[in-house]
């Protein structure tokens, strides 16, 4: 450290030096960083096992400096269940996109939540299949154009976008559900707080913890990163409102 300078920020040691492959502006990078900061701040590197999905974040293990298992498409919740059952005292999370968690993996998601599996879901809902080239997701907004809904999503044909945070918050053994975003600095700070709370509740063995991130995909939304933030504010958040859907009751002091 240079004399007279004060270190106010540095990359957490829980992130590797590998340069991320994500498109400019993508929240995957932001969320990786926030999560790994929390792991470092809680001193959990030695006790954390992550599960990465198939989707744009398939390479998340290149960036997260922790033990990771790569799951088959949609199966992260089952893989995380297996890991957590063997290591009930370690911190386990699954990191999944909307195609992964809410289409091909819906059964695994619902049943892990219903059992109250004591791990944390980090659900990156960008309303589209990023990795495979911008096809419609179960969370694509009504009227939103994608390569498989080129005239806009039609509910009469494919139903309405799935609200996963709302759905899983109904399960008795789910402890904590919050929807966050990273579209503003303030929201990103809240997202980090939510991750921290989820990890803390997990370590207290309170049940399933579920963080949905109203995320973006400038490349497949065919817009600039800045425009993607406006789209979130104007279109995503009115349908997918931010906030806590469920939280363990605070003990009276």
């Amino acid at each position: 450290m240079k004399e007279g300078y004060e270190l106010i920020y540095q990359r957490p040691k829980t992130l590797t030096d590998t340069r991320m492959h994500y498109c400019p502006g993508c929240f995957h990078s932001t969320m990786h960083k926030l999560m790994m900061e929390v792991v470092e701040e809680m001193d959990l590197q030695e006790n954390t096992i992550g599960v990465c999905p198939v989707g744009c974040s398939v390479f998340a293990y290149e960036y997260m400096n922790i033990d990771v298992q790569e799951a088959a498409h949609g199966r992260a919740a089952a893989v995380a269940t297996g890991i957590k059952r063997i290591h009930p005292d370690k911190l386990v999370f699954s990191y999944q996109g909307d195609g992964d968690l809410a289409a091909i993996g819906t059964a695994e998601t619902i049943h892990a939540c219903n059992r109250g599996e004591n791990f944390t879901f980090i659900f990156i809902n960008n309303g589209i299949y990023g990795m495979t080239g911008g096809q419609m997701a179960p969370t694509t907004l009504v009227g939103q154009k994608t390569s498989t809904s080129p005239y806009g999503r039609e509910p009469a044909k494919v139903g309405l976008p799935l609200k996963m945070a709302e759905i899983v918050s109904r399960f008795g053994r789910v402890a904590y559900v919050e929807r966050v975003s990273c579209n503003t600095a303030a929201n990103a700070r809240k997202a980090k707080k939510a991750v921290r709370k989820a990890f803390e509740y997990q370590l207290q063995k309170l049940g399933t913890t579920f963080i949905e991130v109203a995320s973006n995909c400038p490349s497949q939304w065919k817009c600039t990163p800045e425009e993607s933030l406006d789209w979130i504010k104007d279109h995503v958040l009115p349908y997918f409102p931010l906030g806590v859907f469920k939280e363990p009751e605070k003990k009276e002091k």
Partner: protein, 353 residues
């Protein structure tokens, strides 16, 4: 000496898993093997293992992947339609090199089929039922005793080679009761430095993935896997023979039908036909070398494969007999078990040729 008991094949398998140090079982009920999860559920309070009835076989195999990857000694059991659903996961486990033990208590197919015993899943088990170039170790018990013994062997081989090991049995062996000597419990001490247990300061992080996006890397991974498969082929072939020394006709058969075939050998010999039985105990790795040796023997007139299928293992016999002798086939399908008489009639008709 181990404990002597009268048990169903499925229950013997379950009890053996407990004694072999199984740490987690994930499964989904399906006839004719649900006794395994039911037995483990009854015994659970006395032991320390994880038992979870999954929401599907798809989930079960991925729980295996997670728990096996995290260092656990893991088991699942299923029957044909369920094993089909597990294939994606088996392919992932093979490439990621996560050990785990599977049992497929085969029933008649295709489709929903019947709950009666069959050997119709041989191709799926032996030729790689999922996508990609791979094999799993396949053990084929023919008794309740072997249902138990093979669990120990399967866990040992799976861990040794970091590969899924499959016990390929059938509804009859799963359901029938026989006397067996239960193997004594072994203390299981995991030595899996590659497992995801949390990155400690003294090591690099452990990543379990089957993703190799660059073709060159994917080829290197494949070469590594193939080398391992060759090593298993060199070291782990197992088979059994009955009266083959002076046989003129070699019956090849595994699992349940090998019991029927043995009876046919005895009856045939009483009638003066020199029959012998060759019984693979591993069908992958396949006892290629021994089949080739037998095929070179002058006194052997032909081979005949007896199966509960339309003719699956017979292809591996043909491959290794390599045209040196005729290879015939007799099988029943759909859950029907051939009788010794049917086998003898077929042998007789070929002897007249």
């Amino acid at each position: 000496m181990g404990e002597i008991k009268l048990m169903k094949g499925n229950e013997a398998l379950a009890e053996a898993a407990i004694r072999a140090g199984m740490q987690a079982y994930f499964g989904y009920p399906i006839t004719p093997q649900s006794e395994v999860i039911e037995y483990l559920a009854r015994e659970e309070p006395k032991h320390n293992y994880v038992l979870l009835q999954a929401e599907s076989e798809v989930a079960a195999v991925n729980m295996m992947y997670g728990a096996g990857g995290a260092g656990g000694r893991v088991l699942t059991t299923t029957s044909s339609p369920g094993f089909s659903l597990m294939q994606e996961g088996v392919s992932y486990m093979t490439c990621t090199e996560i050990p785990g033990v599977f049992a497929n208590i085969v029933r008649g197919g295709p489709g929903l089929g019947t709950i009666q015993p069959s050997q119709g899943d041989y191709f799926q088990a032996v030729k790689g039922g999922g996508h990609g170039d791979y094999h799993v170790i396949v053990l084929v018990p023919n008794s309740v005793q072997e249902m138990a013994d093979h669990v120990f062997l399967a866990f040992e081989l799976a861990d040794k080679y970091r590969i899924p090991a499959l016990i390929l049995s059938d509804g009859a062996i799963g359901q029938m009761m026989e006397k067996l000597e239960l193997p004594d419990p072994v203390p299981y001490k995991p030595n899996k430095p590659w497992a995801t247990t949390g990155k400690t300061k003294d090591r690099e992080r452990n990543i379990l993935t089957s993703l190799y996006i660059k073709s060159e890397d994917m080829e290197i991974k494949n070469i590594h896997l193939q080398k391992k498969f060759r090593e298993i082929e060199a070291n782990e072939v197992r088979f059994d023979e009955y009266k083959t020394e002076d046989a003129e006709v070699i019956i090849t058969s595994y699992g349940l039908t090998s019991r029927v075939a043995k009876k046919a050998v005895d009856i045939g010999r009483e009638q003066g036909i020199k029959l012998g039985l060759f019984r693979p105990i591993t069908v992958w790795p396949f006892p290629k070398g021994r089949i080739a040796e037998l095929a070179s023997r002058d006194d052997i007139r032909f081979f005949i494969s007896i199966e509960m299928s339309a003719g699956q293992m017979v292809e591996d016999i043909q491959l290794n007999v390599c045209g040196k002798k005729p290879v015939h086939f007799y099988g029943r399908m759909g859950g029907i078990v051939p009788t010794p008489q049917e086998i003898l009639d077929t042998v007789q008709s070929h002897l007249k040729e």
